[in-house]
């Protein structure tokens, strides 16, 4: 009797522990490009708990809808790498050729999208077969990719064309190209699927796009060389690579609020689903920072492998 009670208590702890981490984003996965590795950071302890070898100078990252798998682009070996995020092992590798960099996964379909930096197209990969099943021509040097939450549209930031492509996922066709600032790199879509934000590396600003209207709503000045935008608590956050800062702006008025001194070359940035924390990957300082999106302060720091980029969605 006593033994079984203790046993069920242990089961309950395990169950609740698991549920809690699923709701609050328990881990960050950073692609450490020069180190050829992937770091797993426990976000409660703000501590790296594992690091695995990936190879091919990993850069872009996307997670499966259930967050059990991570898909990573390796531009040097020109591969797509599938990682079991629970077991923390590389499962499969797929040679793509070209220059795979930006990556996104469909919210419900087993489809992965990889932007080819050199051949100006997006590859469609069947996540079950782990094979290329199609491609879509876009602008020059597509970089960041994002899918609308309803799964109908794919957006690509076409860096050398200074434009964003809108792709209809069902027909696999580009249906619009919207001019933005100079050299858009990261692209982020809000939870409503109505707006997209590009970080424009060469014009030091963010372009805000009305997706249904296919037009630009406005621009927000940032620090030097913005990389990606994260959204939390009614605010936008851009990582400014040369500036070493995170620029915070109001999503309603598009007015800048604050520039937070962050680290050397902040890059990948993402808010957890509850908007409680924003996580910033610091390429130059080899750390992951935790930022409070309401107090606008850095509240935590974890050492990771050399040169974390985490370009894409990296929280699970």
């Amino acid at each position: 009797m006593r033994i079984s009670l203790r046993f069920s208590a242990a089961v309950a702890v395990l169950l609740f522990g698991g549920l809690q981490s699923a709701a609050l984003a328990g881990e960050a996965l950073t692609t450490n490009q020069p180190d050829d590795s992937l770091s797993f950071v426990d976000l409660t302890a703000m501590k790296e708990v594992a690091r695995i070898k990936v190879g091919g100078k990993p850069a872009g990252i996307a997670l499966s809808p259930d967050k059990s798998r991570a898909y990573i682009t390796a531009p040097d070996s020109k591969e797509l790498v599938e990682v079991d995020a629970v077991k923390r092992i590389v499962v499969r590798r797929l040679k793509l050729g070209g220059g795979p960099l930006g990556i996104a996964m469909h919210p419900t379909k087993q489809e992965i999208y990889v932007a080819d930096w050199y051949t100006h197209k997006i590859l469609i990969i069947d996540a079950v077969k782990f094979a290329v099943v199609g491609e879509i021509a876009v602008g020059k040097s597509p970089s960041g990719l994002a899918v609308t939450p309803d799964g109908s549209l794919l957006l690509s930031a076409d860096r050398e064309s200074d434009a964003v492509s809108i792709i209809d996922i069902a027909s696999r066709k580009r249906i619009a190209s919207i001019p933005v600032g100079k050299h858009p790199f990261g692209i982020t879509i809000d939870p409503s699927g109505k707006r997209a934000y590009t970080a424009n590396v060469k014009s030091d600003d963010v372009t805000v796009i009305d997706i249904p209207a296919r037009k630009v709503i406005g621009h927000v000045p940032t620090g030097r060389r913005p990389y990606v935008v994260a959204l939390a608590d009614g605010r936008g956050f851009s990582t400014d690579q040369y500036g070493g800062s995170v620029t915070v702006f109001d999503l309603a008025t598009l007015a800048p609020i604050k520039k937070i001194r962050a680290c050397d070359h902040p890059e990948g940035i993402e808010a957890d689903s509850s908007d409680s924390n924003v996580y910033v990957s610091c390429w130059g300082d080899d750390v992951l920072l935790r930022l409070d999106p309401t107090a606008l302060k850095i509240t935590g720091k974890a050492a990771v492998g050399d040169g974390p980029r985490a370009f894409g969605k990296f929280l699970r």
């Binding site: 490009q33 020059k140 940032t222 130059g284």
Partner: protein, 185 residues
């Protein structure tokens, strides 16, 4: 044979226009040297953006704007300098950030031929840190892409070659600064 050439020409002709996208992996070089001298003395040697005479490879520094970084981020109106190297090469640079109190500044290369330095989109930080009253550390950090734009670089412009060129520059310069300051010259 001729037919093979024709096919090759057709394939080449069908390739998309070169987009001049930089390499996919940004390179990082960090070098530092411990100097037996107060930090203020080291900063006096390296802390003027308009004077790169502490770099042995540099023959002449010409610039304007003193140590004033760009006022607004997009304005590109920061202090600039043009370095003429002893081998005749020229590098144009702009000041991005300057903090005399923290003894650090950052700058970027706005124009350089890859034959002079095989890099693209190069940015850099120079920092002096005090280690007690009579010792300090001089650090030089660089972030850049390889010299070759586009995929499949030739060996002289690949990631390794670009990284080595910057590493060699930093190491030889830091050693020379240490010798110059400690030697009292």
């Amino acid at each position: 044979m001729l037919k093979r050439f024709a096919i090759a020409a057709a394939i080449l002709g069908s390739l998309p226009a070169v987009a001049l996208a930089h390499g996919p992996s940004r390179q990082k070089v960090e070098e530092s040297v411990e100097i037996n001298a107060p930090a203020a003395k080291v900063w006096a040697v390296v802390g003027n953006f308009q004077d790169m005479s502490w770099v042995p490879a540099v023959a002449k520094t010409e610039g304007k704007g003193g140590n004033k970084p760009a006022t607004s981020q997009a304005s590109n109106d920061g202090a600039t300098r043009t370095l003429t190297l002893k081998n005749g090469g020229v590098i144009e640079e702009m000041l991005d950030d300057y903090d005399a109190k923290d003894m650090t500044y950052s700058y970027e290369i706005t124009k350089v031929d890859v034959k002079v330095l095989p890099v693209n989109d190069y940015s850099s930080h120079i920092t002096v840190t005090a280690d007690g009253d009579n010792k300090s550390t001089l650090e030089w950090k660089g972030a850049f892409y390889r010299g070759y734009m586009n995929n499949d670089p030739p060996p002289n412009l690949n990631d390794e070659a670009s990284k080595k060129a910057v590493e060699d520059l930093y190491k030889s310069t830091l050693a020379a600064v240490k010798a110059k300051i400690e030697g009292g010259k």
